[in-house]
Amino acid sequence: MSNLTNTNRRDFMKLAATAGGGVLLGFHWRNADAKPAVLDAAAEAAAPSIEFNSYLAVAPDGKITIFSPNPEVGQGIKTAFPIVVAEELDVDWQQVHVAQAPLDTVKFQRQVAGGSGSIPHSWKRLRQAGATARQLFINTAAQRWGVAPEQCTTESGAVLLKGSKKKLTYGELAEEAAKMPTPTDVPLKDPKDFKLIGSSIRNVDNQDIITGKPLFGLDFTREGMLYAVVERPKAFGMKLKSVDSAAAKAVPGIVDVVTFDNSVAVVGKSTWQVMKARKALKIDYEKEAALESTSDHDRIFDELLNSDKNEVRRKEGDVDKAFKSAAKVVKSEYQCPFLSHAPMEPMNFFAHVRPDGAELIGPTQTPERAQGEAAKFLGIPKEKITVDMTRMGGGFGRRLAADFVMEAVKISALTKAPIKLIWSREDDMTGGDYRPAVKYRFEAALDDKGNMIGYKLRGAGINAGNPTRENNFPAGAVDNLLIDSAEHKSAITTGPWRAPITNFLAAAEQSFLDEVAQAAGKDPIQFRLELLEKAKTAPAGDVRYDVDRMIAVTKLAAEKSNWGKDKTKNQGFSLYYSHLSYVAQVGEVEMKAGKPELTKIIAAVDCGIVINQSGARQQVMGGVVDGFGHAMYGSLSFTDGVPDQSNFNKYRIIRMQEIPEVEVHFVDNGIDPTGLGEPALPPTGGAVANAFFKATGKRLYKQPFIEGLSGKVES
């Protein structure tokens, strides 16, 4: 996601009056080569490149509104962002009202939910927004009292005159403050004075969620809108040949049937009517590409892994020499299937295309992409398209794409009606954009002291792009290293799935390192600590992770799990750095009635400063449950291009009875915070597989693990 962040900019603050007479503080920046200026309204109008990233508004009645510009997908950003602003503004949380801002590429930057990138991107900006507003209120009060600003302080949304009982609330100061110059170079709080940051604050939408208020895209309705469902080719590799829509059109409530691309859309008065009518469509498809089955992919993986036409991703030293001189070589292959994102809220979107523009409303992780693609298709300027973000019923990466938005746009353009597009669960699960299936081959060379002197990783993926992360650990810790990859292009569409690539790569690699430690006769944690020591003292090429933070989470996980102390416990260790956060996990397997059962996962997490204890803890617990659930049960297979699973009866999502106990520990190091939407997930599969190995003596080389575990381990 880093390409979405333009770092070549300079931040500064901008003040404006609100319609209600209050003050609105925006956070602006413009290209670094533009002349920095304290902007007034006229300058703003003259400088179209100005952007805000966050606002807060204070009304004369004391109401404080903090706008959260980023889409809320369950990662808790709508709560976390305002906490940071409120902290520096020095207000009580009860005084704050949080509002979701719409897409506004002029006012905000990086309105994206993805890559766990929102917090690291916005941390300083949000703090400055809050602190600048606080200083403004201090300056305003100081002027009114005829004292120096240094004589003032703040508390709970009011300015106090030190050594007196004088007090003015921000609301009382708002009108005057709107006319004051914006303070610059405002100091930020000392983190030790944080009151809100680091506390436990509940999801700001809780009350609406638990009372069933319309919050989600699927809940949105508009007078006169029509519902639409789309029939797409059943098999990847097929295309539309002909449509007979007469029977579908005769179903009560159906208004129109339209065709575009390879899709046939049924438009009508209610969801049930369009779903029923869709079944009456008679469509012929024809083959346009290979109709692949999972068995084809198994064969293709082996071809790719044995091919010599792979793309080199990273190379250090002389791998061939290292393997020739090795005392021991370990070699293993690990494989994972396709996965559906399966967010609980299926894809949906509202679009109303009018002659003068378009209105888009719904769940998207990338509103700007939706706007851009719609503008391009409709041939109108982006400014003519508004995008409002609804709360999302999960996304896991699926809502980074805009395919479903574009379907709604096209249907609305064709029917000239306001359209609410709905995907059924079957549409969602068979509609592509999957986590790609991948297979890895790992090889390690050990010298006679059990040091890893050579490391090879070859990744083969189906539409996976680069299925390796060549700069992740153990790169940097091994002198002779070769990482390469190969890709098979398929008609089966893929896309980013929570912690793209690392969601399986980490599990595979952490299992493999466990095998290597075993071959070296070393404790798995000790083995990794030795490698990390090497990365620190004698690095092999670039080291793109913080070795000390890797070591710290490893030690924290070892301590909290009493690693290796209780010989009756079957523990497995895993460590991964992704999306700027560091996570180590220990899984514990118990034998119950002759069957191994994962009973507990202990997670040690370094995401820097924890903004919201409650939200952060749940992100880790949810990430671990997700990582464990998909490693155990997740599988989407194919027969002749058709997905074998189309709903939750066959596609298994973890349920309450299957969850292990999860314990979460944060490293307290005061470093600027990073995101948590993804980093807790990747290491889980490794901790789980290694703990199962400890209990059963069997390695799990293939996800879903349930297939390797079932039946064969009783003895």
Binding site: I210, S614, G629
Partner: protein, 153 residues
């Protein structure tokens, strides 16, 4: 199309729909009660859970023609002020992540506590196992059901 008089949340609603229309879509599309969610349509996820005569029911597979005189309660009608013990517990424990599954979870939990005020962990897990939460908030759901059970007496 046929006319139905449905007893929902203590009121009578009129709906003019085909008899095979699932109660879920009548609630959402015809009556504007969108708190009840669609997740699978085949009784596998629990997102659409409502109470029919006080027991947890999957509204996605219940045709409106089968509702008859039954008393239907949706998340909107679980309590007047959003303060049913289960709702309170859900907020206190800070259960929702994305929140989409939670109306169904709450309705299942409320039905459980109605017939068993002090369920054991096992009974909670059995009752809640049919409700998927893709975000993985199961630990907090379990805890919240326990917290709610201390509130109902």
């Amino acid at each position: 199309m046929a006319q139905y008089n449905l007893k929902i949340n203590g009121q009578t609603y009129k709906a003019d729909v085909e008899p095979d229309t699932p109660l879920l879509w009548v609630l959402r599309d015809s009556l504007g009660l969108v708190g009840t969610k669609y997740g699978c349509g085949i009784a596998q996820c629990g997102a659409c859970t409502v109470h029919v005569n006080d027991s947890a029911t999957r509204s996605c597979v219940m045709p409106v023609s089968a509702v008859g005189d039954s008393k239907v309660t949706t998340i909107e009608g679980l309590s007047e002020k959003g303060d049913h013990p289960v709702q309170q517990a859900w907020n206190e424990v800070d259960v929702p992540q994305c929140g989409y599954c939670q109306a169904g979870q709450i309705m299942t939990a409320a039905a459980l506590l109605k017939r068993n005020a002090k369920p054991s962990d096992k009974q909670i897990e059995n009752a809640m196992n049919g409700n998927l939460c893709r975000c993985g908030t199961y630990h907090r759901i379990r805890e919240a059901v326990k917290v709610a059970s201390t509130k109902t007496n």
